[in-house]
């Protein structure tokens, strides 16, 4: 041990270990701030572009449609999710735990699979139409909803209603018993008590679910890309993609991207503000009085439950099962009946379904990319989580806001930022791949941080202190004591990051080097080439990855948002 008094310049009264933050901070700046600044600079360079956008009726129409479809999708998702939240939160019934688990499926399900499944179930020659045709005969497609606002909203509901089901359901099951009983005892009927006590108590969680759903729908990409079409069914996100990918108009793309981001971030800010106010109102000593007993569903009550739960389960599972099923089916001629076949699978491994992409390679690429992203994300989130779990006050709050910002910025924009930067330098494919890893990591980071820091904050501060007094430096304590104690959270975060990376289409479609096709990209191209069955075979592999992720998450802990 060195003797002597440490130099005077060291005399800051700051606790040690601040340098642990160095990596997350550098990463955040390089992978998020700089790309975004690049987009902003590009937009600022062409103020005229911004003005033009603001006055153009075309872009105002786009914005109007973006908000309209997101708003309608949110209302529909929340309304469809609320009864499920009621049953999950307030009732006991066989299969409740299973339903709760299954409702996490969309969290790990890539949007492109949702689209594919949606086409198979609701499409012109989809499951529902086939059933109707076989019952009534006659027309080939009695119900045409693809490529319409209705289709977009329905796909969004399928993808997002489990959010409401989970978030509001969890909150419903923890409502305090005392206030409800108090309302009943002073003469309120069950309905009155529900309106005056339950609804205000649930308001924060309903708001959370609605805002997250709105944000997802506002920034939705794959669903609009496939199910929308034409200028009247397009959103800002898809328009930005078209501008930069096909018209190579980075200036206009950047301007539009900045407008979109400002709206999304503004929404997040308003949400953060109202959320903290609402929560303050509902948190009081009533919270300590225990929760209400869940009710058993039986007799007459089982009928409405059945009427809701069966279609809800159908909505989650049918598209996925259809994808798997269709990968084993061929229709030899246009009028022949369907037959079982391994043909698509054989084609898949033989390669050459879509020119320029080899599906087997896409599986490998997706897996390798996913593993790399899982490692970088978990690593970065662990360091950031270590820092915030050892500090308190303003710095931590600012850091957490910074870490959650990527949620309010669409990944198409992140991809655009990378593209602008790599455009400036002679970018090799390798550099583009690094950029892709950076983008995926940044997209997964808020979730991974949330999961890991939540666990690290639960560890008694005395445990790392005991390690430090034993002689461990900050990093040693992190790796030998804190991270081993957070292992389930690390697994959850890693698997979740991998699932996000494997399903990511938005940034990938913009950033990936020409021949670097990931699974979602390959599926998207197959859908575009009307090779639905081939897409299903590859989709089934992707579902496999999602199912493994889902089972791991289900085992190691719940996803909470």
């Amino acid at each position: 041990m060195d003797r002597g008094i440490p130099p005077l310049k060291n005399r800051g009264r700051r606790p040690d270990g601040t340098w642990v933050l160095l990596w997350p901070a550098l990463f955040w700046v390089a992978a998020f701030a700089i790309p975004l600044i690049a987009v902003a600079l590009r937009a600022a360079n062409s103020i005229s572009e911004l003005v033009q956008l603001a006055v153009s009726p075309y872009y105002r129409g786009l914005l109007r449609f973006t908000v309209k479809q997101a708003g309608l999708s949110t209302i529909a998702s929340v309304l469809f999710g609320l009864p499920g939240a009621y049953y999950i939160g307030r009732h006991r019934f066989p299969g409740r735990r299973l339903l709760k688990s299954i409702s996490t499926v969309p969290f790990v399900l890539p949007p492109i699979l949702a689209v594919l499944g949606f086409i198979l179930v609701f499409g012109n020659s989809g499951l529902i139409n086939s059933v109707r045709v076989s019952i009534s005969g006659g027309e080939t497609a009695p119900w045409k909803i693809l490529y319409s606002l209705r289709a977009i909203i329905m796909a969004h509901v399928f993808y997002n209603f489990p959010l409401t089901l989970r978030i509001v359901g969890d909150s419903w099951s923890t409502l305090p018993r005392s206030t409800y009983n108090a309302a009943r005892s002073i003469g309120a009927g069950p309905l009155k008590a529900f309106i005056t006590v339950d609804i205000p108590g649930l308001a924060p969680s309903i708001l959370t679910a609605a805002v997250i759903t709105f944000l997802y729908c506002f920034l939705s990409f794959a669903i609009i890309l496939v199910l929308g079409g034409g200028p009247e069914l397009s959103t800002l996100e898809v328009e930005i993609y078209r501008l930069i990918k096909y018209q190579l108009d980075f200036a206009r793309g950047s301007a539009l991207a900045i407008i979109e981001s400002l709206i999304a971030l503004g929404l997040l800010a308003v949400f953060a503000w109202t959320d903290s106010r609402l929560r303050k109102k509902t948190v009081d000593d009533a919270m300590n009085s225990g929760t209400r007993e869940p009710e058993r569903i039986g007799g007459i009550k089982a009928i409405p439950a059945f009427i809701y739960l069966v279609p809800a389960l159908f909505l989650i599972l049918a598209p996925l099962l259809s994808v798997v099923l269709h990968s084993f089916i061929v229709r030899p001629t246009r009028i022949a009946s369907l037959q079982f076949s391994l043909g698509h699978w054989i084609r898949l491994w033989g390669g050459g379904i879509v020119s320029g992409s080899v599906p087997l390679l896409s599986v490998l690429r997706t897996l390798i990319l996913g593993v790399v992203v899982a490692i970088t994300t978990t690593f970065t989130a662990s360091f950031a989580g270590w820092y915030t779990s050892h500090r308190s006050g303003r710095t931590v709050r600012v850091l957490e806001v910074m870490l959650f910002l990527p949620m309010g910025v669409s990944s198409v924009i992140l991809g655009l930022g990378y593209l602008i930067i790599t455009d400036r330098i002679p970018a090799t494919n390798f550099i583009r791949l690094i950029a892709l890893v950076g983008a995926h990591t940044m997209i997964a980071l808020p979730f991974a941080y949330h999961i890991i820091s939540g666990r690290l904050k639960e560890i008694s501060p005395r445990i790392p202190q005991a390690a430090r007094a034993s002689g461990a430096g900050p990093l040693k304590s992190l790796f030998s004591v804190e991270l081993p104690l957070a292992r389930p959270a690390l697994v959850t975060a890693a698997v979740f990051s991998m699932a996000i990376s494997s399903g990511e289409l938005n940034a990938t479609i913009i950033l990936a080097p020409g021949d670097f096709t990931t699974m979602p990209l390959a599926i998207y191209r197959m859908i575009g080439a009307y090779d639905i069955f081939g897409a299903c075979a590859l989709g089934t592999v992707l579902i496999g990855i999602s199912v493994i992720s889902f089972l791991t998450l289900d085992r190691y802990g719940e996803i909470s948002l």
């Binding site: 440490p6 009264r13 606790p15 445990i463 202190q465 430090r468 900050p474 081993p484």
Partner: protein
Amino acid sequence: MKISPLIFKSVRFVRGDFSLDINVRFPEGKLTVILGPSGCGKTTLLDLAAGFLRPSGGSILEGEQDVTLWPPNKRKVGVVFQDHALFPHLNVSDNVAYGPKVRGAGKVRAGNIATGYLEMTHMSKFASRMPYSLSGGERQRVALARSLAIEPDILLLDEPFSSLDAALRRTLRNEVRQIQKHTSITAILVTHDQDEALALADELAVMRHGRIIQMGKPGELWKNPADLFTALFLGRTTRLSVRRISPLNTNGLMVETAAGTIRIDNTEKLPVLPSTLVIRPEDLILTKSGHLSGQVTEVEYAGGHWRIRLNAGDGTDMIDCDIHDTMPPSVGDLLSLNVRSGSARILPGAVSDYLEAR
């Protein structure tokens, strides 16, 4: 291991409206007990000594060495926490070997060191057990072994026995006492338990509102408390508010209280009111016609003797004494007592100002 004192030189620590201001020398090779009510800052003092917190002013020295800004892993300080803080994912032996290992001892040597200290704390049998399978006392033994395994210069113990039952507490505190004597390590133990403090301390420091009020040998503090807080917090004492003081010609005072008037010699200066007269129970003798008297309000058998509390005047005037008779008085009896000469003290302040000390 080197034996050196731990010195706090005008160490200040401020957080919110709590402020700590410590100027103290914890003597080398001795066990110093810090006694104080909850919230007085005694755990903060330990956190500063371990390096978990950094002071906002002043310096901390281990012997000659200024360690104020050293991180905990650079200091050689062993810490035993109130809640043990064993590493839940490591077994007993690995918990103890952790320190030597991260300090660079090889795996085998670290294991040997762990074996040695587990023997010292009688935990050898539990070497391969996981922490969750241990009782509170066993955990505390492992925590002690772990803190000693780094062969620290300073050992810090934060209320180490507070979660244990009375019998186990006694055993374990004797063992800690013996280990400290045996290793002659500089140790600081924090507690809010008066009996524990008096039983263990080489040096006793009483703490209140972030300051050390008095430090010395336990017997000295018991007999000559520096202020009313120390007198009350250390344990049973008679407390009678002084009504009037009249100086005598012959270098003494006549002190008038609700329980009677007594004569006190050898006071250096004339006390000012409000003041309180304090006398320890062992200095009161039951007689037929003594100087003090009061009405019995509580009688408590303490095995071999009776603890008696008398009331005189209003609610805060109380006499605490011991009676060794076979027949105890009953509640309501009037008792009369004499004071052993030279044992009564007059301390400034009123009992009502020190409610946290009872």
